[in-house]
C-alpha cells in the first residue's frame, strides 16, 4: 500500500523487537496500557504482541468511545428516538450497541425513524431536508470526534436551524486515566498515549502521568511499527530511570495540539459534574454537555430522558476488560454467548473494542492454552 509499507516492514519490526529485548530487565514483568482502541486494533491485526517478550504485557485501555458508554445512556437514546416525529441519527454500528432493553436497531424495527450517518454534518443535512421534524444526533467519542459535533452545532446556529439537536455523550480521556492510575487492582508501568486525541489536546495534558504518578507515556501513531517503537521508548525510559511524556508521533502531533480546536470545544461544550463510564463507574468532570450558549440544541433539554442507571448483564465482564484487569478471552461469555454478530457487551461491538479485536483476529488464547496444556 502507498505510504504505509515502511511502517509495516517486517525486518524493521524484528529489529525493534530485538531492541526491546535488550532493554527489559530479566525477571521483571511489565504492564503497558495502550489507551486508545485504535492501538488495540493495530496490535491484534498485525500481531504486534507476538513480537514482544513474555515479560511485556499489553493491557487494553478504555479508549474505545462506544465501549465505555453505559447501557443506561443507550436506553436514553432509544427513549429520544421513540419520541413522535423524531428522526434519530447515529454512526453505523451504534445501532447494535445493547442497552438494558434492546438496541437502536430493535427500536427501528418497532417503527422508530433511526438513520445511519457518517458525520454530524450528515445529520445536519437531514435536519435541513426535514424542517418540519426534529432531527437528533447521538454524539459519541473523545476529543477526536467532539470537534466535529462542535463545528456542526456552530454551523446550525449560524444558519438559524431550529430542528437539529444533539444527544451528547462526548467524553474526555484524561479523567479516566487518572481513575485507572488510582485503581488499586491495576498496577501499570507505562502508557502508549492516544495519537489522534493528542492532535487536538496536545501532549501537555498527559504531563501529570510522569509528574504525579511517575509513569512514562509515549504518544503513539497507529501503524504497527509506531506501536512497537512506542513500547520500546517506554521500556527504555524505565531502563534509564527516566519518566516523561515523549512524542513518537511527531510527524502528525504538535506538542501543543490544535488551539483552534480547543477554543471551539470550549465554546460549544462544558464539563458535566460527573459522567458514568462502563466498567469504571462515575468519573468527575469526564463527560461533556452542551454549554448554555447551545442549550437550544440540547436533546436532553428538548426531551425528557429517563436517566436510569442500568447494571451490565451479570455474565458480561466488559468492565474488567476495560480496566485491563482481565483479557477478553477470560470473560465467561467471550466467543460463546457474546460474538460480534450477537454482542452482549459493548467491547464486542466496535472494531476498536478489545473483545472484537481479539475475536476478529483469532486470538482465542484460552483455546491455545488448553491445547498446550
Amino acid at each position: 500500500m502507498r505510504f504505509v509499507d515502511e511502517f509495516r516492514d517486517a525486518e524493521l519490526g524484528r529489529a525493534l523487537a530485538a531492541e526491546i529485548l535488550s532493554v527489559v530487565e530479566p525477571g521483571r514483568h511489565y504492564k503497558v496500557m495502550e489507551v486508545c482502541g485504535g492501538h488495540t486494533h493495530t496490535i491484534y491485526k498485525y500481531g504486534v504482541d507476538d513480537l514482544l517478550p513474555e515479560s511485556v504485557e499489553l493491557v487494553h485501555g478504555p479508549g474505545c468511545p462506544v465501549c465505555v458508554i453505559p447501557m443506561g445512556r443507550v436506553d436514553d437514546g432509544i427513549a429520544v428516538a421513540m419520541e413522535p416525529g423524531v428522526i434519530f441519527t447515529c454512526f453505523g454500528d451504534m445501532m447494535r450497541v445493547p442497552g438494558g432493553d434492546g438496541t437502536l436497531l430493535d427500536a427501528k424495527a418497532e417503527g422508530a425513524d433511526i438513520r445511519m450517518v457518517y458525520s454530524p454534518l450528515d445529520a445536519l443535512r437531514v435536519a435541513r431536508e426535514n424542517p418540519e421534524r426534529d432531527v437528533v444526533f447521538f454524539a459519541v467519542g473523545f476529543e477526536t470526534t467532539a470537534p466535529s459535533t462542535a463545528l456542526t452545532l456552530m454551523r446550525a446556529k449560524a444558519e438559524g436551524i431550529s430542528n437539529f439537536f444533539v444527544f451528547c455523550n462526548h467524553v474526555t480521556i484524561v479523567p479516566p486515566l487518572k481513575a485507572l492510575l488510582e485503581s488499586p487492582d491495576l498496577r501499570l508501568d507505562g502508557f502508549v498515549g492516544p495519537g489522534h486525541v493528542a492532535t487536538v489536546v496536545g501532549a501537555r495534558p498527559f504531563e501529570f502521568i510522569p509528574s504525579a504518578y511517575e509513569r512514562p507515556i509515549v504518544i503513539s501513531g497507529f501503524e504497527p511499527l509506531d506501536v512497537l517503537q512506542s513500547v520500546h521508548m517506554i521500556l527504555r525510559q524505565i531502563a534509564e530511570g527516566r519518566c516523561e511524556v515523549e512524542n513518537q508521533y511527531k510527524r502528525v502531533v504538535p506538542y501543543e495540539g490544535n488551539p483552534q480546536a480547543l477554543r471551539v470545544l470550549a465554546e460549544v461544550f462544558e464539563l458535566r459534574p460527573h459522567f458514568e463510564w462502563r466498567g469504571l463507574g462515575f468519573i468527575s468532570h469526564s463527560g461533556l454537555r452542551l454549554s448554555s450558549a447551545y442549550a437550544d440544541f440540547d436533546a436532553e433539554v428538548r426531551y425528557r430522558v429517563p436517566g436510569v442507571r442500568v447494571a451490565d448483564p451479570k455474565a458480561c465482564q466488559c468492565g474488567e476488560v476495560l480496566k485491563g484487569v482481565i483479557k477478553p478471552w477470560e470473560c465467561k461469555v467471550f466467543g460463546t454467548a457474546c460474538t460480534p454478530e450477537r454482542p452482549i457487551g459493548t467491547c464486542m461491538v466496535s472494531s476498536e473494542g478489545a473483545c472484537a479485536a481479539y475475536y476478529n483476529f483469532g486470538r482465542f488464547v484460552r483455546e491455545k492454552v488448553e491445547v498446550l496444556a
Binding site: 502507498r2 486494533h41 454500528d93 454534518l121 477526536t144 466535529s148 490544535n258
Partner: protein
C-alpha cells in the same frame, strides 16, 4: 442492511483518522477531499484554515484536525 465495522475503519463511532488531500473549496465553506483509496468526502477545515488545493489533512468524522506535512502522509 446495516454496514458493519471492517478491519480498517470503525463505523460504530467513526473514530478513525484518515489522511486526505484537498481538491478544492466550496462556497459553503466545505472542502472537497479525497483519500488514498479514492474515497471522496466534503470536509470542514475550520480548524486548519486556510487550506489550498493539494494540502494534506488528517480527518476525523468529517473534520480536518491537523495539517499533514508531506512525509506525515506516510501513515
Amino acid at each position: 442492511m446495516i454496514e458493519t465495522c471492517n478491519d480498517t475503519h470503525c463505523i460504530t463511532c467513526s473514530d478513525e483518522g484518515v489522511a486526505m488531500r484537498v481538491l478544492g473549496l466550496g462556497s459553503d465553506g466545505l472542502a472537497s477531499c479525497v483519500d488514498d483509496n479514492g474515497r471522496w468526502e466534503r470536509i470542514m477545515t475550520d480548524l486548519v484554515s486556510p487550506v489550498s488545493p493539494g494540502d494534506s489533512v488528517l480527518v476525523h468524522a468529517g473534520v480536518a484536525l491537523v495539517r499533514l506535512e508531506p512525509e506525515a502522509r506516510r501513515a
